[in-house]
Symmetry: C2
Subunit: 205 residues, 2 copies
């Protein structure tokens, strides 16, 4: 484990991304250490040198992702953002930003929710618990609805935005190239259109 931490950051990121990608794509059992070694351009033996065993590597990734989520969660105080659409936009930007350096982290996190291998079943909570906490703080608040022409539309619109975010994630899952800025621009425009059509006049601009 300390062997791994002694590597340069570039090499560490390469290895982590390879592992996140393989586990995210294939799941725990179907992803082999050889897959990961090839993707990371290192030898299979090195993977064992760094992490000890397949299970230990997987758990390391769970804890690694947990820390990442904690990091982006603390960094930005979403509470201070008063407007619903601003809050969604900000949190999406944060997620996308982390996606830039860790292209496969989202895929890995979502794969964890579908993981069924008994080998690691007990350990999954390390990450699932944290992602739950994160999502719970991104909730719709009471006074958000008051800005809507029809306040009862607030909930559904919020759900639609969450769905769209999942749609984006699904669309670019597995794609090897991905233009973050274009997607965020697209998302921002969609949010602007929704806001313009759903908010009362007095809350526009």
């Amino acid at each position: 484990m300390d062997k791994f931490l002694a590597l340069t950051e570039e090499k560490r990121l390469t290895i982590l991304n390879a592992a996140l990608q393989c586990f995210g794509k294939f799941g725990y059992e179907k992803a082999s250490i050889n897959d990961i070694a090839v993707a990371a351009h290192i030898s299979k033996a090195s993977v064992f040198q760094y992490f000890g065993s397949k299970k230990q590597l997987y758990i390391y990734l769970l804890e690694y992702c947990k820390k990442i989520i904690e990091g982006i969660f603390d960094k930005e105080a979403l509470d201070s953002q008063t407007d619903l659409f601003d809050r969604i936009m900000t949190s999406s930007k944060i997620e996308m930003e982390s996606f830039k350096t860790q292209p496969f982290i989202l895929q890995f996190i979502s794969s964890v929710w579908e993981e069924t291998s008994p080998d690691v079943l007990d350990s999954l909570a390390i990450l699932t618990e944290e992602t739950c906490k994160f999502r719970n703080d991104m909730i719709l608040r009471e006074d958000d609805a008051l800005k809507f022409k029809n306040p009862e539309d607030a909930g559904p619109v919020f759900q639609m935005l969450l769905l769209m975010a999942e749609g984006y994630a699904a669309r670019y899952r597995g794609a090897d190239t991905f233009d973050f800025d274009t997607v965020m621009d697209d998302f921002q425009k969609n949010i602007a259109i929704l806001r313009k059509n759903f908010y009362k006049e007095e809350y526009l601009k």
Copy 2:
């Protein structure tokens, strides 16, 4: 192959669903015949009895899905539907309906787009071509935009709906239970809300 067609429809569907699920979940190379046999509650030898080889089974599935898509495409004349939202709702209903008897067909179809195994690479076009045709007929038309308060919003709203559909698909991918009617109800409500807020008064009702 004729051996397979001689089975009861129930057994055939069980086997097809098992194969669609495994290939959809793991991809061609990582899905083993044993996985499929276990999921279908038959022996591994039977799978070879029915389909000859792994590759032949995979190609059979590609052609099977192609036929399914052709079927639901011919059955419903989307052209006659004049309203954008109605068209989207109808095609979604059709897709969902096929999803009821073939729970894993959507997952399989989307997995085909990510398939990279050289063994079947040449054969993928069987299905990808057909799905392209299907999607091309579900396009936004010129006069759809005229119904919008801001006609330039029509394109983005259409894209948002496609994104949401992908979001639904992603959300329930891998889930073993799935309440179709609830999801369709949800989707229908979202469409109604969007229509109400984006259409000119004169086009409501």
